[in-house]
């Protein structure tokens, strides 16, 4: 054995413990630090804006039947929830890496036995936890508003139908059923899950961009642009192809965009659930797997850029 590689038998601090290749504990520590960091940035204040939107929509005296009014409240609330979720995922993720660099926390972390993949995964998990908590709170606000309006509509409808004396209990039940169909249902939780999955892919894409971006502003702008393109390319491609008479160049361009940019429009299945369509759990599961695929690939690509980055 070479003398240079021999480990000294006695060391004043004892033998260094081998550092495991991957430690979920370290990832959890970085994730919890990220959650604290984001909470200290007062990010949850946007929930106030959301609550205001929901309360305003819930108190509109819309010129519609109770069922339609409930459907409108749901659509606006869940649309706003979705918007806040992906926007929050972009902004929060884009701010994290540059902020750590600015505060010099990054150097402290990376000088410890922390793998870069653990750092990136910890950051991503932290953002996802905060997005998840926000979505749960937003859903809670929504549920209170929808539940309150639903019970109000149901009692008003029962009272009106009973007092008119012209309707049988079956007809009243049928009418109430129509309102309840647009009210608070457990399936709405899956719609929130869909928004979470979309926000997770957006966060994964943003963390990848932020590994080589020069500033937070650049990351935010590019992420939003990519998100919009990812949302629109399926819709817009048929339009472009039609208006260009299926030109070869447009076809190629559409294919390149489709291959490089995630298809965020797929996650709009939450809209169908909000509108009262039946949930197909197998498809929701497959969407979860696709999301997992996106996260793994974006994380590996981020690592590829970040692994030998010098600070």
């Amino acid at each position: 054995m070479n003398a240079e590689t021999t480990v000294p038998k006695s060391s004043p601090r004892g033998a260094a413990r081998p550092v495991p290749l991957f430690s979920p504990g370290r990832v959890a520590t970085i994730a919890s630090g990220t959650v604290t960091q984001l909470v200290r940035m007062k990010t949850f204040y946007f929930l106030l804006a959301f609550a205001l939107v929901v309360v305003a929509v819930g108190n509109f005296n819309l010129p519609a039947t109770p069922a339609k009014e409930l459907s409108m409240i749901k659509k606006v609330s869940f649309g706003t929830m979705d918007l806040f979720a992906w926007l929050f995922a972009i902004v929060a993720t884009a701010l994290l890496l540059p902020r750590d660099q600015e505060d010099r926390t990054l150097y402290t972390i990376l000088s410890k036995p922390v793998r870069r993949i653990e750092y990136l995964l910890g950051k991503l998990c932290g953002v996802l936890v905060v997005v998840g908590i926000s979505l749960v709170i937003m859903y809670g606000i929504c549920a209170v508003m929808i539940g309150a309006r639903e019970s109000l509509f149901v009692s008003a409808e029962i009272e009106a139908m009973t007092s008119s004396g012209r309707y049988s209990p079956e007809e009243i039940e049928e009418q109430v059923g129509l309102i309840r169909q647009q009210g608070l249902r457990p399936e709405l939780g899956i719609a929130v899950g869909a928004s979470f999955l979309k926000a997770a892919v957006v966060a994964g894409m943003t963390i990848f961009l932020s590994t080589f971006a020069s500033s937070s502003l650049f990351t935010i702008i590019v992420s939003i642009l990519l998100f919009l393109i990812g949302h629109a390319h399926t819709m817009a491609s048929s339009f472009w192809l039609h208006s260009s008479d299926n030109s070869m160049i447009v076809q190629m361009l559409v294919k390149v965009v489709k291959i490089l940019i995630p298809d965020f429009q797929l996650y709009s299945f939450s809209e169908g659930i909000v509108q009262g369509e039946a949930v197909v759990y197998a498809l929701v599961g497959q969407m979860g797997l696709v999301t997992l695929g996106y996260l793994v690939v974006f994380l590996l690509l981020s690592l590829l850029v970040f692994v030998d980055k010098e600070f």
């Binding site: 819309l62 010129p63 069922a67 339609k68 459907s71 409108m72 659509k75 606006v76 869940f78 649309g79 706003t80 979705d82 918007l83 992906w86 004396g165 012209r166 080589f212 998100f227 919009l228 949302h231 629109a232 399926t234 819709m235 817009a236 048929s238 339009f239 039609h242 489709k258 291959i259 490089l260 298809d263 965020f264 429009q265 797929l266 709009s268 299945f269 809209e271 169908g272 659930i273 909000v274 509108q275 369509e277 039946a278 949930v279 197909v280 498809l283 497959q286 969407m287 696709v290 695929g293 996106y294 690939v297 590996l300 690509l301 590829l304 850029v305």
Partner: protein, 290 residues
């Protein structure tokens, strides 16, 4: 130059990996999209025309994944057009709304009702237009409503609400009994179709020239189903047909039983339409004051 050359291969590797992942996921996502559309969870892209008609903000919102929000906003805008009787603007708004959310039955029913009932009613009383123009627009709005109904039925073939609204236009506005009979006939057997559509199909078939015999056989079959179908209107329609077709006396049906219990409770004699109570007693007076 050195860092540049160090960086380029890494970026190339990243792009290649991204493209490879794209190639793998693309067919999977296409399959998922098809199944999500089939399950009505995902709405297919809006029709060609919808993009051209959208305003800049609506277009951006739609492309940005805020399709539901844009549709809801446009529904509110459409109500504004209804309030100001701007029927062409209302139609324009609903063109986009129905393109954005083609699976939402309420949008189709609303636009058919607005154009087919409200706009045509407005044309019947609009004093600022000459009679010829009013008549022309009346027909135009009615046919636009029918066009919407046909597109709605294409999108939601199982919808009974759209067909019932369409039948109302043929019945109340165009007075086309044959078309009413056809639409009610199409509604029979659909999920959520009300029970009366079977009888209405027969009533309007009876009024459709040339279909009297068919209507008689159909209504008689309903009559034979039992007491629950022997409503005064059904009996009256059969008796009208018996007269028209010269059915011999022994084969004719008896008059409606006057003692047959009414489905709707009898209105108190002192309760006028609109629930206006005429006080007949001290309790009535207390009810009015309280």
């Amino acid at each position: 130059m050195k860092p540049f050359f160090q960086k380029v291969p890494r970026l190339v590797v990243v792009l290649v990996l991204l493209a490879l992942f794209g190639l793998v996921r693309s067919p999977l996502e296409d399959g998922l999209r098809t199944r999500l559309v089939e399950a009505n969870l995902l709405t297919p892209p809006p029709a060609q025309g919808a993009f051209e008609q959208m305003g800049q903000s609506a277009l951006m919102g739609t492309l940005g994944g805020l399709r539901s929000l844009v549709a809801t906003f446009l529904t509110l805008e459409a109500f504004e057009h209804f309030s100001t009787k701007s029927w062409d603007d209302l139609r324009q708004s609903y063109q986009i709304i129905t393109a954005l959310e083609p699976r939402d039955e309420t949008h189709w029913v609303s636009v058919i009702w607005h154009l087919g009932i409200n706009a045509t009613a407005n044309m019947e009383v609009e004093g600022r237009l000459p009679a010829f123009e009013r008549e022309r627009r009346f027909k135009e709005y009615a046919f636009q409503a029918i066009d919407f109904a046909e597109r709605g039925i294409e999108q939601i073939p199982e919808s009974s609400a759209i067909r019932i609204q369409l039948a109302e236009i043929y019945r109340e506005k165009l007075k086309d009994d044959c078309a009413v009979a056809r639409v009610y006939g199409d509604t029979i057997g659909l999920p959520d179709a009300p029970g009366y559509v079977r009888r209405f199909h027969g009533y309007f078939m009876a009024r459709c020239p040339g279909r009297e015999k068919e209507a008689y056989a159909y209504l008689m079959a309903l009559y034979q189903e039992g007491e629950q179908q022997r409503l005064p209107t059904l009996i009256k329609e059969i008796q009208n047909l018996e007269e028209k077709l010269g059915i011999p006396g022994p084969r004719r049906i008896p008059d409606a039983d006057p003692d047959r219990p009414q489905k709707t409770p009898r209105r108190p004699p002192n309760l006028l339409p609109g629930d206006i109570l005429v006080p007949f007693s001290v309790q009535d007076l207390r009810k009015i004051r309280g």
